[in-house]
Subunit: 227 residues, 2 copies
Amino acid sequence: MSGIDLAVSTVIFALRPDGDGRLVLSLPLVRRIRPPFENRWSLPGGAADPVESLADTAARKLAETTGLEPSYLEQLYAFGEPNRSPTGRVVSVVYWALVRGDEADRALEGENVTWRAADELPQLAFDHNLIVDYALWRLRTKLGYARIAHAFLGPTFTLAELRQVHEIVLQRPLDPANFRRQIEASGTVVATGEHVTGGRHRPPRLYRYDTTVDPVDPSPLSAAGIR
Amino acid sequence: MSGIDLAVSTVIFALRPDGDGRLVLSLPLVRRIRPPFENRWSLPGGAADPVESLADTAARKLAETTGLEPSYLEQLYAFGEPNRSPTGRVVSVVYWALVRGDEADRALEGENVTWRAADELPQLAFDHNLIVDYALWRLRTKLGYARIAHAFLGPTFTLAELRQVHEIVLQRPLDPANFRRQIEASGTVVATGEHVTGGRHRPPRLYRYDTTVDPVDPSPLSAAGIR
DNA sequence: CCAAAAGTGTTGACGGTACACCCATGC
DNA sequence: GCATGGGTGTACCGTCAACACTTTTGG
């Protein structure tokens, strides 16, 4: 009708072990099986659904390609430059998502789905490299003021694990003492009272995210239930 | 084709004098002349253009309804809830814009276009009240960390004028001394060397925005030339 | 006891706020 | 001179980075 195709894509972040067993910020890519950019890797996505909300479509595509559910999902940007697809006008509403590491371990992977380190991506189809760069920038920026790192972890975690998430995403070491105080001051986590034993050191406390407070985003959109 | 209509709308902010001559944060609304929401006020916008970029469409619609050019334009959000229009599925990519006050004085206004104070809006069509709330939140938040207030002013301005912009948008008084130091420390304005005479007080310096530094947004998108 | 990581305490630099005070102009 | 706003100086306070130090486990 309007001559413009509407698509939904998602940048999916997870922390996965690399060859050496070290956790790396990674994302899944899907191989394009038809032109344009045939055989090139691209972001998971597809045509917008006439009935679903855009966020639901993003979550569904995420589940279809990875078998996972997002623990965090947020709209990134609507990309609509006229020449971004050689086949015609396409406007892509892009979301970004976080998935838990223990879930990502059992993620689908195969001939047409691959996980790659976020900072070592091949040349992707369309403008998807730019999109990932922007999503990375948003993730790193938002980690500074919103408490979303727990979305990479399970329901309970130690502060050392939470700090490791920050360190991997931000790519720099953080002072354990100061990190502890910042998190405790934010009031977003509560101690479960349990401890983790088995390490060759003092047993750390277990925490869980406090769901009763702190919406990550105080914007009017979250109040309206829009993600 | 997909059964989804793609629209572009814009929240246009300007500082305009109210009845008492005091500047108020205002925005233009257009009267809907057909169902749904016939005769209701709504945001300027229309169907996405197959050839133009989304930002260009937003700027063109802005010019068509107000006769003005935006001094700042940025994408706000893509609204796409399935039930936001009673006539069918519509996804609206919404932009927000700032226009200069001296331009806004000669803005078009008539039977089907009206300017209203941003915090005293009537009930608008569709979800446009929510959209304006979000745009207001973004404007106020962004004013705190990005130097965009000059977009409301002419090419040269005094620090008192710039401070007044902040005070009106943020709706609270600011300390002139501290405001001066913050702005000067940001390095985003330079003194022209000229002064404004005629006031019953010491003549203030004139400043202009320093275009050589400080992109308002250091995100990868602005580096790629996308607004 | 030793190693290692958890957790606490202390200090100094920095940025923002409050506010006293001086400057330059019109009347 | 006086009122008015422009512009400067300074003290205080909270936040954060740096780092010394204590605690609790496994071996």
